[in-house]
């Protein structure tokens, strides 16, 4: 097998085994150990090029967005609009639907396809109103005990005058707070760019997954490069330094599993990408179904409380 085939093979296995805690070895002892060794080897080789490839694929203009997936695996989809206060934010779509026969609440970032839609949806960068709308869905999820699914794909929260005036920081903080109050199963998947606060605002979930070419980061490579290298052109170096790719996020314990994409990336075959994503979401939901709500919440909080490395 070529190295690339090996990697694909491994990643598919990783996603198949996304019923974690994968790398902590509990669930699938022998298999996990073997995979871990393989992963370690691969990681030494995760070249700057491979990381940059993820960055490019995550932002690929043809990459499927939230509504492309909704169309493919959510039945009886009813989109809900508006935050009941000020506006309807097109950068974040929210609604109710069924996956495999169970009713779910779903929120997801939506970038636009053409110029007009991109402008209407602010390139997937939500205003505080978007997060308020998401919180409305969280309320519904809690009231009716529907699982809460989020699909994350944003360069970041919208950086504008009105967004600040309407309380961007506070909205992101309160959205996270709401997420750690829920007593329903919550599953998030980064399906493209997981850009900073605007991403984590809807991703404080029991299970956080990433598609294999998605990225999840505290800042964009360009932003990081502009600050630390004083040159946005050094984005590739910055990405290599802060490692936003799925394997590294898994390794750092930030995500719980990797969802396979069709060879070449999700943009090459929407149907296959959707099939993999649906399978991973259903698997995660099945796994969380048995756990009582209070216990879900306790574990979710413990998971995020434990994040970080310090001396």
């Amino acid at each position: 097998m070529s190295e690339r085939d090996q990697e694909v093979n491994l990643r598919q296995r990783l996603s198949g085994l996304s019923r974690l805690p994968l790398l902590r070895g509990a669930r699938v002892d022998g298999e996990a150990k073997r995979l871990e060794e393989q992963l370690e080897r691969l990681q030494q080789d995760t070249s700057d090029e491979a990381i940059w490839r993820s960055v490019e694929l995550a932002r690929h203009p043809e990459r499927p967005y939230t509504l492309d997936y909704v169309e493919r695996f959510v039945d009886d989809w009813v989109e809900l609009h508006g935050d009941r206060g000020r506006a309807d934010d097109g950068a974040l779509v929210t609604g109710l639907g069924k996956i495999d026969g169970r009713t779910i609440t779903l929120v997801g970032h939506q970038k636009g396809r053409d110029v007009k839609e991109r402008l209407d949806r602010q390139f997937g960068m939500a205003y505080p109103e978007g997060y308020h709308k998401a919180m409305r869905l969280m309320e519904i999820a809690e009231r009716f005990q529907f699982p809460f699914i989020s699909l994350v794909d944003t360069p970041g929260a919208y950086p504008g005058v009105a967004a600040e005036q309407h309380g961007q920081g506070g909205a992101i903080a309160r959205s996270q707070a709401e997420m750690v109050r829920l007593t329903v199963p919550t599953v998030a998947c980064i399906i493209g760019e997981g850009g900073s606060g605007g991403a984590v605002a809807i991703a404080v979930s029991d299970r956080v997954l990433m598609q294999e070419n998605a990225i999840y980061s505290v800042i964009t490579p360009e932003g990081c490069a502009a600050i630390l290298w004083r040159d946005a052109g050094e984005a590739k170096k910055a990405a290599a330094a802060f490692k936003p790719d799925a394997l590294h996020c898994l390794d750092l314990g930030v995500i719980d599993g990797i969802v396979a994409e069709p060879p070449g990336g999700a943009q090459t075959d929407y149907d296959t990408a959707a099939r993999f994503l649906k399978a991973a979401l259903v698997e995660a939901l099945d796994e969380l179904d048995e756990t009582p709500g209070e216990e879900l919440r306790r574990r979710r909080r413990a998971k995020f409380r434990g994040m970080g490395v310090f001396a």
Binding site: G169, G170, I172, S196, V218, L228, G308, V309, F310
Partner: protein, 278 residues
């Protein structure tokens, strides 16, 4: 649109040259100049125009707490370098330099003290340590301050001062947002009040997490309180910025904070608020 993705202040190669470097003790608003001891005695507030200079964490604790009552906790928690991060210099070198320059082990000081004899917990950030950026150590220390306050049933006074998440810790620094949010949730579940004093600057990741979740939230005059700072907003959107964009005064007008309290009045204000929760 690449700049649209940035949520911290950005320096650019083609940025206008910085204004002539002034002595840090020269007031940027009115040009008055003071000796260190003069500023220290005036709580680092300009006697002429009221400008609030940055205040070091320990000095602020000295100001809020009864003399000699402060007991620091978790002072030995330090940052690690999980990514072997290297930009123009290694992260570890930047950490060591920050510690040498500030005498602080991290960008936050936590502990407990008394105010007019009543115990309270403190979590005070120090902007001079790597721009008050929040990495794993800051997240952990803030969370421990919440735990300690909840356990003892004493109110927590938090003073954010931060440029945002610490990039050198990559995605783990972003995870400090939900981590500190969880800590505040648990504090709230224990029915322990969180009083937040936003100081200049309270931005990006810190504003988008624990700084925005106080039961009572005040700010210092002129403090920048913004998820995205003015320069990035300007560069990204080309919008014309209002004069008071992102400042405490604008945040008060738009309903994001409860009051603006000048530093010399903060001790009495905190004492009053804490009495209400006893």
């Amino acid at each position: 649109m690449s700049d649209a993705r940035i949520d911290v202040q950005v320096e650019h190669r083609d940025a206008p040259p910085p204004a002539e470097k002034k002595h840090p003790n020269t007031c940027p608003k009115c040009g008055s100049h003071y000796r260190d001891d003069e500023l220290d005695a005036a709580l680092w507030v300009c006697a002429h125009c009221g400008h609030h200079y940055p205040m070091r964490a320990r000095k602020r604790i000295e100001w809020y707490a009864d003399a000699g009552s402060f007991q620091e906790e978790a002072a030995d928690i330090r940052s690690e370098d999980p990514l072997d991060f290297f930009d123009l210099r290694p992260y570890t070198e930047r950490l060591t330099e920050a510690e040498l320059n500030t005498g602080q082990s991290e960008a936050i000081v936590i502990g407990q003290a008394t105010l007019d004899g009543h115990p309270f917990a403190l979590a005070v950030m120090d902007f001079s340590f790597m721009g008050g950026s929040m990495g794993s150590a800051v997240g952990e220390k803030f969370s421990r301050a919440c735990d300690a306050a909840a356990e003892r049933g004493i109110p927590l006074v938090s003073v954010p001062s931060s440029g945002g998440a610490r990039m050198q810790e990559g995605i783990l620094s972003l995870m400090q947002l939900p981590k500190t949010v969880v800590a505040v949730e648990e504090l709230h579940d224990a029915r322990v009040p969180l009083i937040t004093v936003m100081s200049h600057p309270t931005t990006a990741g810190v504003l988008a997490s624990f700084a925005s979740l106080g039961d009572v939230t005040i700010a210092e005059p002129g403090a920048l309180i913004a998820f995205t700072g003015p320069r990035v907003v300007q560069q990204t959107t080309r919008e014309k910025l209002p004069d008071d964009f992102g400042l405490a005064e604008q945040n008060l007008r738009f309903g994001h904070i409860d009051a603006i309290v000048p530093r010399p009045q903060q001790r009495a204000y905190l004492a009053r608020v804490l009495r209400l929760f006893r």
